[in-house]
């Protein structure tokens, strides 16, 4: 049993921490929330140089061959400093399943440009309901000669407006059971019939609506097996969920630290406000939440990395992340007083991202229900 990061992870963590603080201060985060692209291409190309995009790819795809836990550590730092951009959608939502389920041709064709920073990807999964449910997949891909023809509408697709490729979850078979008959198709965003609109959102984080009108995809552009797309989704969802939780865990650590520092610094009634027990105990509750979340994330990440069955722990981590992120931000803002309610204060940057993290890859109710099933109910 060992809670410590290894040497390589510690180096990555320190490097990422320093890099993000220098390259992406919160002033830049706020600018990017209003930016048409929503991310900084010069930061992006430096990340490529650092080898982050291909961090966990084998060397033959221009990767650095690190493992999943290293990526968890990196995401934690990205969350701590808030890095806006399509890293999560490209690497967690798309590259991971390509690595696992792609054919050798697909892997060579798609992973190398990802590692080299030439292509951005996203996953077009949720539809009008905004939920993460197989039964909500109504976008249809029908066969026409050598092609699939896609018709439908996807919602809350992260960074589709800057993406080169989308993995689109489509219905190709009869609806015998909800998770049968779903096929994942790789589609170029430039294809004719694809319309992308950015959904104005609290965090300005590039969520899009994507409409498909008679969009063609080749029969070789299937990721995984025809009709078995939900299996791929389940695979990627577990890993991407843990990565999202790691990002949230990092964000929560940052909120705690800034609030703790403020409580020592801010004086009212001739005392630091941290000397008032009402504030101090709130901070202790925040600490307990934050540490508990971090360990749950590490535990589920570690389980996944060993290949053990991890779905229940992943759902526990996500339900907890949703809960803790919200509570820590709310208490953090309250402890800051009115200054925490301002645009110029960093804590708002975190609070604006709570709902984005909460509803990606399953909301609290969905994950609690999975936990319930996991404990035998």
């Amino acid at each position: 049993m060992d809670f410590d990061l290894n040497e390589q992870q510690n180096m990555l963590k320190t490097m990422a921490h320093d890099f993000l603080i220098n390259e992406c201060p919160k002033t830049r985060v706020r600018e990017l929330e209003k930016d048409a692209k929503g991310y900084d291409t010069s930061i992006w190309s430096k990340m490529v140089d650092l080898g982050w995009l291909g961090l966990i790819f084998p060397e033959q795809y221009n990767g650095t061959g690190a493992d999943f836990l290293d990526l968890v550590v990196l995401m934690e730092e990205m969350g701590r400093n808030i890095l806006p951009g399509p890293f999560f959608s490209t690497v967690a939502l798309c590259a991971l399943p390509i690595l696992k389920f792609g054919t050798e041709t697909q892997r060579r064709k798609y992973l190398v440009p990802i590692a080299d920073g030439k292509n951005i990807w996203s996953l077009a999964l949720s539809e009008k309901s905004g939920k993460f449910e197989a039964s909500d997949i109504n976008t249809v891909a029908s066969i026409d000669g050598n092609h699939y023809v896609i018709n439908g509408e996807k919602w809350f697709v992260p960074f589709a407006h800057v993406a080169d490729y989308l993995i689109v979850a489509c219905r190709t078979g009869r609806l015998e059971s909800a998770d049968e008959g779903i096929t994942l198709l790789i589609v170029r965003t430039k294809s004719r019939g694809v319309t992308i609109n950015v959904i104005p959102s609290i965090a300005g984080d590039g969520l899009c609506r994507v409409r498909f009108k008679n969009v063609k995809a080749g029969r070789l552009d299937v990721l995984g097996k025809v009709g078995k797309g939900w299996k791929v989704i389940n695979y990627l969802a577990q890993r991407a969920t843990v990565l999202k939780c790691a990002e949230v865990s990092g964000a929560c650590q940052a909120v705690l630290e800034m609030t703790q520092a403020y409580a020592k610094d801010r004086k009212q009634f001739d005392k630091p406000i941290g000397a008032f027990m009402a504030i101090q105990h709130k901070l202790v509750d925040m600490l307990t939440d934050v540490e508990g979340l971090q360990y749950m994330v590490y535990y589920s990440a570690w389980l996944l990395s060993t290949g053990a069955k991890a779905d229940v722990y992943v759902s526990m981590a996500k339900a907890k992340a949703n809960d803790v992120y919200q509570r820590v931000c709310i208490d953090g803002i309250k402890i800051h007083g009115a200054i925490g309610f301002t645009l110029d204060h960093d804590i708002g940057c975190y609070f604006r991202r709570v709902k984005a993290a909460e509803f990606v890859l399953g909301d609290t109710d969905m994950h609690l229900d999975k936990v319930a099933a996991g404990i035998g109910l």
Partner: protein, 401 residues
């Protein structure tokens, strides 16, 4: 990052499980403190202590020379977790001896004291049962405010005063006593000493206090010129406050694996119940509200598991977990309260049935937990006191009281 237990540790878990299955089949899970109340429960608990000692588990992390096995903190963790899961009685023997008297004596006791007191604890004998006399009517959270005095006369201390809430005093052979040894000290903390008191000494009166459920856990203790040999002083005279702080950290570090084990089993009982019980023609297990409540309880327990692992890991690296122990105590209390309330809500009206009556559900586990958790949350320091410790020692905030 590695959360696997070793093969040796897994083997131990299996051994404890097999032992528990053979020895405790069909019994409900009662808390360590409840077993001090009724003679038949106490007798059974002590018989189990003896067997656990024979297995080498009771004080397994102690050095061999004092009756332990020199086992690792992780092995001890696995034993505590598994034994608590099965609710094996007799694992604590009134808590004090195994929990902190032994570990404290190994740090600040004399070699003579270790040789005299440790083996009978490790052997699970009635002579190894201890109680702890810290709290007084005017010294609860503010332990430094104790008034009980132990004044030196030749080679004896003469003890006068009163303790209260002393758990297990009615079963104990010895008392781990905090008393004031210097009436003239300028600072309260600088005049306290820890003293080993023979409960058979003349001048001690024990008055039982029943709790609101009629269970006899704690007592009042009165001392009227009780003579204690000076060699029963633990550590340095007037430095007892510092020894005591250390013993409190010992007291708190095992809360997490204890309650995780017990909580997990209790939750499993509840899951089984929800799958069996039908309500409006459907198993209760499909009810969304019930599912979500129990899922939340499971997440709390797993969080507690990680907190427990963290402390054991830190101890195994030679660190002394101070804030972590306080955090875990507070989180245990929280998780215990939520589980108890959820459980009684699901059982509904039947959760009121007397725990000894056949109509009570689920071996009365939830009713028991419900009746016990407020007291368990106070014992060993209240939640507020724990949070004060975390605020000061971890967050570096000024003292807020």
């Amino acid at each position: 990052m590695e959360f696997r237990f070793s093969q040796k540790e897994e083997k131990l878990r299996e051994d404890v499980r097999n032992f528990a299955r053979a020895e405790t089949a069909g019994r409900g899970i009662i808390s360590g403190m409840e077993e001090e109340s009724r003679d038949e429960d106490w007798g059974f608990a002590m018989s189990m202590s003896k067997k656990l000692a024979e297995k080498g588990w009771l004080t397994m992390a102690w050095p061999k020379e004092y009756g332990g096995q020199g086992a690792s903190f992780f092995e001890q963790h696995v034993y505590i977790d598994e034994a608590s899961y099965w609710g094996i009685p007799g694992t604590t023997m009134g808590v004090s001896g195994i929990g902190w008297v032994g570990p404290s004596l190994m740090i600040c006791g004399s070699e003579e004291q270790r040789k005299k007191y440790l083996p009978s604890i490790a052997a699970g004998e009635p002579d190894g049962v201890w109680c702890t006399g810290y709290s007084e009517p005017n010294a609860g959270s503010d332990v430094a405010n104790i008034q009980t005095s132990a004044l030196r006369e030749g080679d004896h201390y003469i003890v006068n005063g009163q303790k209260i809430w002393t758990s297990c005093a009615h079963r104990a052979r010895w008392c781990w006593l905090a008393a004031r040894t210097d009436p003239n000290a300028s600072k309260k903390q600088h005049s306290i000493s820890l003293i080993i008191l023979d409960m058979k000494s003349p001048g001690i009166t024990i008055k039982p206090i029943e709790n609101y459920a009629g269970i006899h856990i704690f007592n009042e203790l009165f001392f009227d010129n009780v003579k204690v040999p000076v060699m029963n002083l633990v550590g340095t005279e007037n430095r007892g406050w510092y020894h005591l702080m250390q013993s409190l950290a010992f007291e708190r570090h095992s809360f997490a694996p204890q309650f995780y084990g017990k909580g997990r089993r209790t939750l499993e009982f509840m899951v089984k119940y929800c799958n069996e019980i039908r309500y409006n023609g459907k198993p209760l297990a499909v009810n969304a509200v019930t599912r979500h409540k129990l899922a939340e309880r499971a997440i709390e327990l797993e969080t507690l598991k990680m907190f427990g692992y963290e402390i054991t890991w830190k101890m195994s690296k030679g660190l002394i977990p101070v804030y972590e122990a306080a955090r875990n105590k507070a989180y245990c209390d929280f998780a215990m309260q939520r589980l108890a309330i959820t459980g009684t809500e699901i059982i509904g009206a039947y959760s009121q049935v007397d725990i000894n009556y056949k109509w009570s559900k689920l071996l009365a586990n939830f009713t028991r937990l419900y009746m016990m958790f407020p007291g368990l949350a106070l014992a060993g320091g209240t939640g507020e006191v724990q949070k004060n410790i975390v605020g000061q020692f971890k967050l570096g905030l000024p003292r807020a009281y």
